[in-house]
Amino acid sequence: MIVKIKTLKQLFQRNRRPGNLFFAGVFLALALFLLVQIPHQTVWKSGAKWSAQPALWPAISIVGMTLFASLNWTSAFVSPKIAGRWKEISFWLLSLEYVAWFMVYVALVPKAGYLPTTIVFAVLLAMRTGYRTKKMLVCAALTAVVVVVVFKAFLQVKVPGGQVYEYLPDALRSFMLTYL
């Protein structure tokens, strides 16, 4: 819903969403954990000026995090409860499946090669997300080819050639290692 903005307050206002209290709690816990760790994870050098102390900026930032996270959690805690917290958290957790897809893709590229892995990844992910028509699967494969050609062949970004390319004939191997 977009409402008509009439005041500066309305312009900058962002209202809370379900899951806000949970997130505020997790963030506060992280800030408190980091706060406790300051003496163990930073050094205060004797003789050095305060402005050159290695611990200064981690301390400033973590104290700031803790202060604001406490206020944020308190504000979320005293506000009316918004229905749908666990449904929202389950939505966040659903994204972990695609994190797994991404990490498997990352692990396979150096082994199976950038081009073949990207084509297989795009087509399988298209099927997983509900696209079954030949047109969409071909589009996914073509997109993969275009991405690889633009970035590896033209822009020459640093993505290593796959280990499987070693089994290819000499001429094709060097082409694949350089461009695909």
Binding site: I2, I5, F12, P58, I62, Y98, V106, T143, K158
Partner: protein
């Protein structure tokens, strides 16, 4: 004059012009697709630009930055869905015009207003250059520290209703920037004995996670949809003529865009609000605002397009970025050892002017492209959202992995992707984390070097610019507290809205 000739010389290369064309046309297309903003595109392309000449890389990124808002107005007007976050206000008057059969006129006016705003912004930047070149060398370490501090304060205070969350996330960003081996005393900070944390958390890995991967995860998990837009018939040139009937509104809106763009942490939303309010208050037909007023549409589009050029001012003159996109561009400067700041204006004025001219050219390119290809873009808008998620995920891999071929970087980016998804779902801002990382690093370095010459605390603000910045910080905080008290006394009801919808970035 010599610098200007030299600037044209720098630009008159096929690779720079090609980069400008790819950036500007690519930016329009990206902006037109709801769910992908300039931030996603710039984050993905950043590592690829590192291997390019600095001017080539920067013109490509500037092209995307300056042109995405043009494209974003198309779905805002035709299907009531802003292409980028800053086109939200365009839906107020653009979509009602479409509903009454004036879609061609609305799109044409939006293009003309965007062009006007963009050009005015750049002209102001060019005219201000001598003043910037004069004032920039007066910024020493303490002034730059205070400017960065002002940026952090403003970016936190700009998130009204979510100030605690914005402060928490900005502090988190500053903390992320401190992780790893610090370069002065060579001690480890928050590495927990892990070698992969010794080199710190890379800004680009965080940016790719927060902007690109998070958007991919979001689109993949959400229900699939495919926006439908009707094609336009007739010429789009009429808006240029109509704009001249509203030149007062267009000029004022561009002026607001320039002023607000220069101030770190403020940007498009405030500029649009001020120009829209001004346009409504001074209009002969204020009742039409929100119901399809051409003036409202012009106020929104001219203001947001004037911001990119102005946002380059703190970046180029001081090396202090005011928002996420210029923060990302800062890393391109650093990679090529071009340090933005006072020295850049003194020693490489031709480079700075070349960037200005490139921005001017990109606005012309975009306008010409749009006048002839809007109907093609209405087809591109129809890409199904989950398919878009697959494309972004594939592109994000290149962005992260090509940095240093590290699976650890990819895992960190994926972690930030999930964090970004949560923040977007909660409609919490992502930008304070990025600005915290960048400005935190600047503040640490500049405070250390400034304090070497400071004996008494008051010495820190004994120079005019430092004193001015310090007083500005105090005034900004005091004004904010006063406004909060006044609004609390009036008991103004809160109204939820999605003008800042983080999911659109």
């Amino acid at each position: 004059m010599e610098d200007l000739v030299s600037a044209f010389g720098l630009l008159a290369r096929w690779d720079v012009l090609l980069a400008l064309m790819i950036g500007s046309i690519g930016g329009v297309i990206i902006g037109a697709i709801p769910g992908v903003g300039a931030a996603v595109a710039i984050a993905i392309l950043l590592p690829a630009t590192f291997s390019l000449d600095p001017l080539v890389g920067l013109t490509m990124l500037l092209g995307i930055y300056g042109s995405s808002m043009y494209g974003g107005s198309i779905p805002a007007i035709l299907i009531n869905t802003p292409g980028t976050a800053v086109n939200a206000l365009t839906t107020y008057d653009g979509y009602p015009m479409t509903q009454r059969g004036d879609s061609r006129r609305a799109v044409s006016l939006a293009y003309s207003a965007s062009f006007f705003g963009g050009v005015v912004g750049i002209l102001c930047l060019i005219l201000l250059s001598p003043a910037l070149a004069w004032i920039a060398p007066h910024f020493g370490s303490r002034e730059i520290f205070l400017a960065a501090l002002l940026g952090i304060v403003l970016v936190v205070l700009a998130h009204r209703g979510q100030i605690f969350a914005a402060g928490m996330l900005a502090s988190f960003g500053i903390f992320l920037g401190t992780i790893g081996l610090e370069p002065i005393q060579y001690t480890q900070r928050f590495t927990f004995g892990q070698t992969w944390l010794s080199s710190g958390v890379d800004l680009i890995v965080v940016v790719l996670g927060l902007f690109a991967l998070s958007q991919a995860f979001l689109l993949l998990v959400e229900k699939d949809s495919s926006p439908q837009a009707q094609p336009l018939t007739g010429s789009l040139f009429s808006g240029l003529k109509e704009l001249f009937q509203h030149k007062r509104v267009a000029s004022a809106a561009s002026g607001f865009g320039v002023v607000m763009g220069m101030i770190p942490g403020v940007g498009e939303f405030t500029a649009q609000f001020m120009s829209y309010t001004y346009a409504q208050k001074t209009s002969d037909k204020p009742e039409l605002f929100g119901k399809g007023s051409p003036e409202g549409l012009i106020a929104s589009e001219a203001a947001n397009n004037a911001v990119p050029a102005a946002a380059m001012i703190p970046l180029l003159a001081l090396g202090v970025p005011g928002e996420a996109l210029t923060a990302m561009m800062l890393s391109v400067f650093y990679v090529h050892n071009v340090i933005p700041g006072p020295q850049l204006f003194q020693n490489q004025m031709d480079f700075v002017l070349a960037l200005y001219v490139a921005m001017l050219v990109l606005n012309v390119m975009v306008l010409i492209f749009l006048l002839f290809s809007t109907n093609l873009l209405t087809k591109i808008i129809q890409i199904p959202t989950r398919f878009l998620g697959i494309v972004i995920l594939t592109l994000s891999f290149v962005g992260v992995y090509s940095l240093r071929n590290s699976a650890t970087d990819c895992a960190i980016a994926a972690g930030f992707g999930v964090l970004g998804l949560i923040l977007k779902r909660l409609n919490l801002p992502v930008v304070p984390i990025v600005l915290g990382m960048v400005l935190g690093g600047i503040m640490e370095t500049k405070l250390r070097s400034a304090m070497a010459r400071v004996k008494e605390p008051l010495d820190f603000i004994d120079r005019p610019i430092a004193a001015f910045l310090f007083i500005t910080i105090l005034i900004v905080i005091a004004l904010h507290i006063r406004t909060m008290i006044n609004e609390h006394k009036k008991r103004m009801p809160d109204e939820d809205h999605e003008l800042h919808d983080t999911q659109l970035r």
